[in-house]
Point group: D2
Chain length 340, copies 4
């Protein structure tokens, strides 16, 4: 950690600052320049409150060298985290999975029929939302506990593990038989929710916020991990940019960057990122080529009558084509190498 001190900082102030740093276990090395004094802090700085340093009277700016996340950090755990579900399915460390299903659960018939279709096409997990975050209070908000019941029915019928989104920790009792709990983009920095999920013994699929950096995503993973749950799957789902032809902009460089910084699995959601069914296939292929550990894709038996996000949903037939092309490209994809 590097601290730049303000002009006119006195020798006494610098020596007092060094003493304070020593108290929290850090050695302070000082370089006196023409306009500024630079202090290098040596030691374990991962739990130093950078804002607190920044606010000290003599401090002009502070720069971390070590990343502020620890449990999520590749530096402290070299081998890939592999998430293993109850049915033995693995994600990460070379295990690639495709999660598919409708945006919203609309009826038992719908979710069971989509579940059968995506299973037949090769998907290994089923997604479907019972609690839907919608910008408008007047938009369809999901079937809630009734939807959860239909989803569990689809799990029972097909044997597919299920992934579904939570919006309030108070709903956790409904998630007992869910295999992976999803945190949506808008809740990525709902820190109270993250802390609650840190106490759950289930994998958490954490989506990147619409305008959040990768470091912020990893800090949110750190919230869950620091609270006791190390089973976190990171998900790139598009970020907000000035482009309007796509709903969001899929940031595929997030894959190699996250893999370099962290040991956690990284999956990609091309459906929400683009908001456009025609773009799902090229983006699914690109994500696979770039080394993702999996995909999450919206599939609906009848996109034109979907209660939400139909425009980005594939039909089961289109999904079969995507699965075939993704499987064909996988042997030629990028793989993370430790010496990278």
């Amino acid at each position: 950690m590097i601290v730049i001190l303000k002009k006119n900082t006195t020798k006494d102030q610098i020596s007092q600052f060094s003493d304070q740093m020593k108290e929290i276990g850090l050695e302070a090395h000082t370089i006196v320049g023409e306009a500024h004094t630079i202090v290098g802090l040596v030691g374990d700085t991962s739990q130093v409150d950078i804002d607190h340093l920044r606010d000290m009277e003599i401090v002009e700016s502070v720069q971390r060298i070590q990343e502020p996340f620890k449990k999520a950090n590749r530096r402290f755990r070299e081998e890939d985290t592999v998430i293993t579900l109850e049915n033995g399915l693995k994600i990460g460390g070379g295990h690639f999975q495709v999660i598919a299903g409708p945006c919203s659960i609309e009826s038992e018939e719908q979710i069971v029929s989509v579940a059968k279709a995506v299973k037949a096409a090769g998907a290994t997990l089923l997604r479907g939302g019972a609690f839907k975050p919608r910008t408008s209070p007047y938009a369809f908000q999901g079937l809630h506990s009734r939807g959860m019941r239909f989803l569990l029915q689809a799990k029972e019928t097909t044997g597919l593990p299920i992934v579904t989104e939570i919006m309030d920790a108070a709903h956790l009792p409904l998630f007992e038989e869910v295999d992976i709990i999803q945190v949506g983009a808008r809740n990525m920095q709902n820190f109270e929710l993250l802390k609650h999920l840190g106490q759950v013994k289930k994998p958490i699929l954490l989506k990147r916020g619409l305008a959040n950096t990768l470091q912020e995503l990893l800090m949110s993973a750190e919230y869950i991990m620091a609270s006791g749950n190390e089973q976190v799957i990171l998900c790139e789902r598009g970020i907000r940019t000035f482009e309007t032809y796509t709903r969001n902009t899929l940031d595929l460089s997030a894959i190699p960057v996250l893999k370099r910084l962290s040991h956690l699995p990284v999956i990609v959601d091309p459906s929400h990122a683009t908001g456009d069914a025609d773009l799902v296939r090229p983006m699914a292929l690109a994500a696979t080529a770039a080394g993702a550990d999996g995909l999450i894709i919206e599939v609906h038996n009848d996109p034109a009558h979907a209660l939400c996000d139909g425009a980005q949903s594939l039909t089961p037939d289109e999904f079969v084509t995507v699965m075939n092309m993704v499987n064909a490209i996988r042997p030629y994809a990028e793989t993370y190498k430790r010496d990278m």
Copy 2:
């Protein structure tokens, strides 16, 4: 509402679409162009699910003409909303208030002393956080219920109404004696929290999210209002841009735009927006000149030792200067005119 239909839509499909629209109370008027058919929907469209329309097979795109918010909309309620607190203090409709206090409550002594100082300088409400949203799980998270106790002590001592942030609806019992409940920028789209606050009988200070549009801010206000609580104060607190000299970019055009679109009061937080005490005064003056209904400013008795955000906190003395300059400029400020 305007719906653009895809090329090759048949007459039968168009007539079927018109029938569907009639069922939900809308008249469909059709213009057949060379490449597209345009349908104008006439009637009350504020509660139409635009995503659902967009997802229909024959639809290429949909554009709202009416705003999607109703209760927050100036069109449906011309006169300014005026919020009245228990002690009679009013915000909005020409009533300008300054909320001041520390970022975090650190001790009873600290909050009481700052409360006295800001009251003496002319602030009419006290702010202070007991629950702090922090990017890192290792940063100071606030004193929680102990902090709330100290804040209430400061209220009792000075008579100032208090404003403090909520992060989880489960904490609501601690907020019973709070005068205004704040929703932070990161929770602006925590829709479950907003719904809970819609059932509270207290004013809600709703901060704009870091990368959210003004329409999204108004839709979040609409969540609270549609759930039963119409006492919402909007707060511009800076948005994320590429600029790095300031922490965020204060969007002061938000003031006249929000006042044109909505009858709700609009206040400005120059402290969080800039993250820099030197910039608080010019931005407080600018916000006042542009017609804000109030300011929320961080003041700390000892910024250099603040447990959070010291760099942006004013000393009580600096705050006195700001108050004097703000009061001097107010008579010359922009005022919203109905015919604007």
Copy 3:
């Protein structure tokens, strides 16, 4: 084109507006709603000045349905544009090419040696900058005419066609033997330069600006084409976002979107987009998978001593690996289909 008229527009004003539209060859169809009047304009609107409409007293807003670009538009020319160079090399329409070379030309020896290396690895065009746009006036600005001479020497030695950037139309005489003239991201909206390049009989490689939309990119292509030069290659090279681990964010959905909107070839620059040699390979693979018509990659014989952008340059050996992996993935890549 849809025009929303202001409330209180009179019948006379509407009829006068219809007459004005008729004069420029458009039929105006009117729908009178409760709060607004909607006018659909039918006819060829591609050359209507939308700002002019917007500024009319009775107009509230205007929305295009047709795209504002014409010569670059897939709607008016279905088959892919294929660019053919003097040596017979083709780009676009299924012809995939890799352009490689150093950021800056530093010496004759350097550019000739890199040229030989990239040719041996399978690159089919050579890049190298003699005019370098640099944020600081104190940074290395390129070797200018001397650099051009070295580049031509490398062309002569290896037979590789060359691509190099122009920053000022006054330099055009130096570009006579250049095969493809590049317009950099910062000059994408240097409209005077674009008009000059519209009078040149050489392909233009047009890079997307750092914060520009795809529609703006196509409008800049339209500038060149409308001035007489239809040989334009579009290049996605990363856009500015809030992410800091990468220099820019590569927007790979630009590939299928541009191919849907336009018949022009689309290539991708993973080197400038990421600014990080480790990320070039995964992003080159992803771009290929998503259906790009080519890649432009920085290769330097000695990245550690490069005069610019060494951190993002591959060594010739690394480039061989990238070429091999790109060639392996190509048969499985997305291909644009007309019915998409």
Copy 4:
């Protein structure tokens, strides 16, 4: 300047690096941490090519402490730059001026009539564009040399100094009698144009690019100044954000930030920033309150029939009101203090 070296850098490499730094006049001070070695470079680093350092094999990252601009830097010239025009008018250092006029020059009659109106209302400079940067090649591009003639006529008639935009250095001969040459937002990083303007003996009004940082703006000013012309006026005119109710987002914190960093005058353009005549007045007041050295405002005798940007133009009557309110607020505005 701080350089972080990669893990595994050897002592020999560090000592070799120190020697290289000594050659360019910098002392290298080394701090060896657990994971990294930090090198502080002491001396005049303003002309060091930071990219070159970054690209060295042993370097992980580089951070400037000193700003990279020198001639524009307040640190090296404490007193405000005051620009003096031929007619004696001053801008900066407490001299506040209002530039007004139409977006485009449309006819001699129009520009002369607007010039008289804005002069009567108190404007001290006239603006008007003869060369217009337009996104579409099919939009009105300005009257070019004919427009310049009309503008000069208006100058002669009213005695107002004139400000007009240049898009190509080749047009400089037409600008001989222009008082201030404007560089538009899209040309802020047209470095060749900036270099040409560095050789002109006239003040340059440099507009901030739509997605550029304040440091980039100052580096572009530095281009002009380093080429020999120190008369630069900085102009904030709104940046691109996700907000859509306004055309751009006016960043008023730019005023105090630029004044702290630089001695150059700072003016604000509320017309282009908002694109909406109703927002010009509140934003003009806010900019004045925040300490701007001047305003540039669009005024048109007949906004509804303007050939460009009518929606953001004030009528002469509206402009009178703005001038009166701005003049009323000025005595209470923020003023830059050296000890800030």
